[in-house]
Symmetry: C2
Subunit: 479 residues, 2 copies
């Protein structure tokens, strides 16, 4: 899921504008507009939904990607294997066109990492380097903070040469809002600490797992600071350090052999069902192919790749193509800054192309059941959204017209004016697994995957069969 | 908890003999014998029980041992710190005598360990070396077995130069019986594989955790084989290898820098409340001070140490000492073969001394609530056991007269004829934590610890105040 540089943006977008909320209210309170979709089209959607619930294509894809490829760190040897895997799978699943587009980025490597308390209470610690951290071998006393504000307020003299330790718990929530709140500990903390002269940075993992797994994730250092080694502790290890500090100064050694190492060119893998009447108009559904290296990227984001690949496959099984083209994208390197999605938006982001990207949705919040649906379509252009919501309702999905936002890899298109749909997954347990070693296949529920696939198939079919706009229109990019 | 060499023995002892079960039945079915304990003594026991439920001494000890000392691998630098910790704590808790007794053993070290799938499905694996494994760096194809019988039946030609992979799940049970069944995979598997020419040994962890933690534990190689590197996989990693084998041969690299390295002398730490009338008679309660190195040994066995230390402390707070002496022992090196307990039984195991060890109980099955109580006292000598059971009942503890056995470190005394008591803990979740990195303080429930401490205080007080025998009598040691 979303790197923090995008999280703030996504958080901003998650809050529907008053106009959107108003339009939703209006749609609920007044008689629906004339349905743009005939009953036969809705019947196909309902049939797709039931077919998907009984279909194991998505599960089989998730199993294959997590098992045969395993972890897929951007730029690693497995990155290329994953691209080849996705291309071959799309080709086998009945898509009309399958191609790749290059995405070039700096390569970050994790070679080894360890940490330990030194001295009278000597003991090892479970840590993992943050993506983007430089290497280093630092032994120094800890200075603890319970949040980023306290770190910002600290006198640099108290930090010079020390290891900053930020111990801020993350809240468990269904919608992932705890992630946004904890985010600055990873995104901004290392730079603040570096600017104040700290020798290294340790943080309580942004996560909710009580197990001995630490959560990685990208961090970016401000241009004006010299990067310092930065790592996250498992929650029990963070608690342990906080207890140990009651007994006096705590010296920790943090040894990271990690860092940036050259450039790499990966690929977005794109598959399309060509629209029968309006092939130039695109409904886009997506997941991201890369993962962090600690688990096998099962909930982040083999699930999204499998769900959307399979949803498109189910649509492809219909007797005829939908009016519009359905594009399914397995994005490269989401984890280090939406790099595949930014490349896509760059390559396909001319004003005319944005208008032709009718609506986009990404599955990148795990493999929990979908509980809510919404789109960014404005008032007067919500008939298709209303129709989709009706067909999704039997899946236990509510039409939440004041909720939602674009998935991370939809953000670059949304910034340019592209419309988004939100198929909101229950993320209550997501941060037990996100970016840590526990993100493995056994944590994925096949029934929930089938429910997700059903929802994406319904959405994809109806959005692509509709002739209604969802409101995509080029706009000046936010500064 | 128990190393496997003792597990078979303990399993044997866990099944009460027909005579014992008979005696229990008799005690239930007929009028109780004349109570050897006056009401005032029972009242003190009930008061101790209530005091313990409101007391946090045990919790504070567990917190201190797991935090200030951390992991306590036998022979490690932390071993000596733990001995000093236990001695100082006993001395501060009001015991009459505190002393140490030496325990010398070979030292096993874990320096580094890693494993990975090689080739087309390259990916890292979460493993941990078994205690007693030699070092080595082996790359070879896997040969999978679903149990130890299949391994035993295998043609050596199919194993030569390969890595044996035994993938046998362990059953989750309240009483830990799944551990006994899975035990041979760790105790006997490595020797069987080595004898058949295997290059290394990988096993599914004996454990029930679905997380990315592997379970260590001691293994012993038969004298007639050359030891081979031996390690355990986390459950998700074992599942991953089994899935990968569906696609064809799987080559794994197992690199262990571990092994035996000289000798070390640790110490049993012993504290005593000297009996006011029969000081030479001993009621013994115990935990073990050592732990494996992956977690902080919270449920295995800081909890047992804290519970029994605190129980003795509560008895020490009474206006007068019980008739008999109460001895609390923090045993050295339980994990690698009951080595502290064997040294104790050797030093204190003369025929007269066994008779004077009235009864012994160890807390070494985690920190779950106690649900059952029993002793090995024979028919006609169960009045004290009956009385203890009555006082324990309000704690939710049933008198299960056909259940139980000696805790691991009581086994060497029991083998010589010493009587045992069983305060049976709910171990449903124990093997989620046992011998892996998740054995940390946050997994311990303070309320359950207080219930355990109450039970041990009641048992210790009544057994030490009683004049009745529990049946301890020297016997020829089993061959």
């Amino acid at each position: 899921m979303k790197p923090l540089s995008a999280a703030l943006l996504a958080t901003a977008l998650l809050v529907a504008t008053p106009a959107q909320a108003q339009s939703g209210q209006a749609a609920q309170q007044h008689a629906p507009q004339a349905a743009p979709l005939p009953q036969s089209t809705l019947d196909i959607a309902a049939r797709l939904r039931e077919q998907a619930l009984a279909d194991d294509t998505a599960w089989t894809l998730i199993e294959s990607l997590t098992t045969e490829i395993g972890p897929r760190l951007p730029g690693s040897e497995a990155d290329a294997r994953a691209v080849a895997w996705a291309k071959a799978r799309f080709e086998a699943l009945g898509y009309d066109r399958v191609w790749t587009e290059p995405v070039t980025f700096p390569k970050w490597e994790r070679r080894s990492e360890s940490a330990a308390v030194l001295g009278a209470h000597a003991q090892p610690l479970v840590i993992t380097a943050l993506g983007g951290s430089p290497g280093g071998d630092v032994s120094a006393d800890l200075v603890r903070f319970d949040g980023i504000e306290a770190l910002e307020a600290a006198d640099p003299a108290t930090l010079a040469g020390r290891i900053v330790f930020v111990d801020m718990p993350m809240e468990r929530t269904r919608d992932g809002s705890g992630y946004g709140k904890a985010g600055p500990v990873r995104s901004r903390g290392p730079s603040i600490a570096a600017r104040k002269g700290a020798a290294a940075y340790l943080m309580r993992s942004i996560g909710t797992s009580p197990h001995r797994v630490a959560n990685t994730g990208i961090t970016r250092f401000d241009a004006d600071v010299t990067p310092i080694p930065a790592a996250a502790l498992s929650l029990p290890d963070a608690d342990q350090l906080t207890r140990l500090l009651r007994f006096g100064p705590v010296q920790v050694r943090l040894a990271l052999d990690v860092g940036w190492n050259g450039e790499y060119t990966s690929h977005n893998v794109i598959a399309e069902l060509t629209g029968r009447e309006r092939p130039e108009e695109i409904v886009l559904i997506a997941g991201h192919l890369d993962s962090w290296d600690l688990g096998t990227g099962a909930v982040d984001d083999a699930s999204g790749v499998g769900i959307t690949m399979a949803a498109g496959h189910l649509v492809a099984q219909q007797p005829q193509r939908p009016r519009r083209s359905l594009r399914v994208v397995a994005f490269a390197n989401e984890e280090q800054g939406l790099l595949g999605a930014r490349a896509y938006a760059e390559a396909h982001g001319g004003a005319d192309v944005i208008a032709r990207h009718v609506v986009g949705a990404e599955s990148d919040f795990g493999a929990g059941r979908i509980y809510g649906f919404n789109t960014s379509a404005p008032a007067g252009q919500r008939a298709t959204s209303d129709a989709i919501a009706e067909v999704l309702r039997p899946l236990g999905i509510d039409y939440l017209q004041d909720k939602g936002g674009p998935g991370p890899d939809i953000v670059p298109l949304a910034q340019k004016g592209g419309a988004w749909a939100w198929l909101g997954q229950d993320g209550t347990d997501y941060f037990d697994l996100h970016h840590n070693a526990d993100d493995t296949l056994d944590k994925v529920d096949p029934d929930a995957v089938a429910q997700n696939t059903a929802a994406y198939a319904v959405f994809a079919w109806l959005a692509a069969e509709s002739e209604e706009s969802f409101g995509s229109a080029p706009k000046a990019e936010a500064p």
